[in-house]
Amino acid sequence: MSPVLETKNINKYFRKPVDFHVLKNISFSVKKGEFASIMGKSGSGKSTLLYILSTMDTDYEGHLFLNSELVTGNSQQTLSKIRNEHIGFVFQFHYLLSEFTVLENVMLPARKLGAKTYQEIEKDAKEKLEMLNIGHLAVKRASRISGGEKQRVAIARALINNPTILMGDEPTGNLDSFNAENVFQIFKKLKEEQGLSLLVVTHDHDFAKRTDRIIEMEDGKIISHGSGTD
């Protein structure tokens, strides 16, 4: 099976404040329907890697492929479109647009994509919210809901365009154990029921060990690709 996401020899340097080789020869891949996690000490370069994989950071060496197509070197405009269509991203801090309702937040990426009518998008967004058991929050302002709820809204937003892969940077890092478990179950369900590919950075061993595979990082290198299939 061909990988949905693949990197070849990715290297990244920070020039400021001092020259710093932050990612060293990162080569790995995520298969379709795989739920992979990345672990590593703080400062080992996990977030930096994820920003590159999500196409937001273009300042690196090496090659990034999405669905076997080279992403590296595309224009910002094209990368925006790729992000919009193919990549769902969930952050540690639940970034929602606080002036919009929950439903509007979930709809935004789909309205940007513009592939469906407003009504269709609205229906999709409600379905996603229902699936995550937060349908009743739809009309609330994004600033008026709890942290666990916000994270689920962020997941719904990441899913609205049915992305190729969902990435998360410590998505449960800021949640209590109940909400963290909730998010894990959601991810698992997405993998099992919809065959979604997931790549999640986490500090939580309990979380990681229940994923298909744990990629371990240290000092900007991958020291273990995990016991999955690779």
């Binding site: 920003y51 937001m56 910002q76 405009q77 925006s80 992000r83 919009n84 940007k112 994509l113 513009g114």
Partner: protein, 420 residues
């Protein structure tokens, strides 16, 4: 592909949730545009009024015979003194008639010219107004009154009586208002005038004429052309001046030069006669635009500041939008739309306020002896001021919005997301 719906939706949400800043920014534009509309309407109204005051009473081209010495003095005709250096003392003007030679053919010629809106003959006479034992010196101008009314706003300057009254009465006179005051005369009275040769005629006052310029109103009166010709004992071809109105004022200068050559006559054009008026007009326009542009620059800085603040506050939102697939251009358009909405709404309100103020000024009473036809302040209502106003508003908000929105476009989402 740009999804305008969602971009405008986000822009609108920002504006609505930041109502106070939005209103402040829009009011800045409103103020600038309102001031521009008011100023430009009022200033050009003033210009038009002042131009009217002088220029409408001035013909575009004025033909007359200048009294001047002969170019060739008689001594030059003597063969004996040929080549000699002749000194002539006490040179006198050439004996010539004041009347225009061939006036009637010239008039006919002019009336056929398609460039000419009209040409009116006048006979000017030096006279004395007799009031008891007092003799007041002055002019009596014989005119074709209905033609004058057609070609200039002569009617506006007749403060009592009407041009028709003069037309219908052979021995009528439209007396200068200053003269009427001096001699305590009213409409219907008779006034005696005497010519330079001493002939005395009684004329019946059919109305008063007030140009607003005291030097004129104190000496000048109007009568029918035939009346003046009769008083002077001259034939019906006695015409001292021909006033020409053209369709296009700009042709006055070249045409006057041609007429001068063609008819061997003196011709002055309006621009040469009133060069200083252009300067006054220019300066008033300059003031209008200088004040308006200053106000708009201030408004522009307001918009610039508010957008900068907004973008600073919305860093996280911008990062999120970019992370979820909005391009830098989309983000720029969101903030540009906000600037343009502020500019459009503020500008339209400015047009309304400017219009309101103009109407208000237009109704303010403005009474002055010098300007008999003016009752309220002059205001010039012109559609193109409003078009310029709104274009002004949009351009200045575009410039003010461009820099901040360009900054938003270039914000690196990774830096923002990492920062928290």
């Amino acid at each position: 592909m740009t999804q305008w719906n969602v971009i405008l939706n986000i822009a609108k949400t920002h504006l609505v949730t930041k109502m106070k800043s939005t209103v402040t920014a829009a009011l800045g534009v409103t103020f600038g545009i309102g001031a521009y509309i008011t100023l430009v309407s009022f200033m050009t109204g003033l210009n038009a009024m002042l131009d009217d005051l002088i220029l409408n009473q001035t013909p575009h081209i004025h033909l007359y015979n200048e009294i001047q010495p002969s170019e060739k003095q008689p001594v030059a005709l003597y063969e004996t003194f040929e080549g000699a250096f002749n000194v002539v003392h006490s040179v006198k003007p050439k004996l010539s008639q004041r009347k225009i030679h061939n006036a009637l053919p010239i008039l006919n010629y002019l009336k056929k010219d398609p460039e000419v809106k009209g040409a009116t003959p006048q006979a000017r006479a030096q006279i004395f107004y007799l009031s008891g034992s007092i003799e007041l010196g002055g002019n009596l101008i014989g005119v074709d009154i209905m033609e004058e009314v057609r070609l200039s706003n002569f009617r506006d300057y007749i403060v009592e009586g009407s041009p028709e009254d003069l037309e219908n009465l052979d021995n009528g006179i439209l007396l200068g208002a200053g003269l009427a005051d001096k001699m305590s005369l009213s409409v219907g009275d008779r006034v005696q005038i005497s010519t330079v040769r001493g002939d005395i005629f009684p004329l019946k006052i059919v109305g008063f004429y007030q140009s607003g310029i005291a030097e004129i109103d104190n000496i000048q009166s109007y009568a029918n052309l035939s009346t003046v010709q009769r008083i002077l004992g001259e034939a019906t071809n006695y015409i001292t001046d021909i006033n020409i109105k053209l369709f296009d004022l700009k042709k006055a200068l070249p045409m006057s030069q041609i007429l001068e050559k063609q008819f061997n006559i003196t011709a002055t054009d309006i621009n040469t006669a009133n060069a200083q008026f252009e300067t006054g007009t220019d300066i008033r326009n300059l003031i209008t635009y200088a004040v308006s542009i200053t106000l708009l620059i201030v408004a522009g800085f307001g918009i610039y500041n508010i957008l900068n603040m907004l973008i600073y506050e919305k860093m996280n939102d911008i990062a999120i939008l970019k992370a979820t697939g909005f391009s830098g251009k989309d983000v720029q358009l969101i903030f540009m739309s906000q600037a343009m909405i502020i500019g459009l709404v503020g500008g339209l309100m400015g047009l309304l306020i400017g219009f309101g103020l103009s109407v208000f000024i237009d109704r303010l009473p403005f009474d002055t002896e010098a300007l008999p036809t003016i009752e309220t302040f002059p205001v010039n209502f012109q559609l193109h001021f409003y078009v310029i106003g709104i274009v002004f508003a949009l351009i200045s908000t575009f410039i003010a919005g461009y820099l901040p929105s360009n900054k938003a476009k270039r914000i690196d989402p990774v830096r923002i997301i990492r920062g928290t």
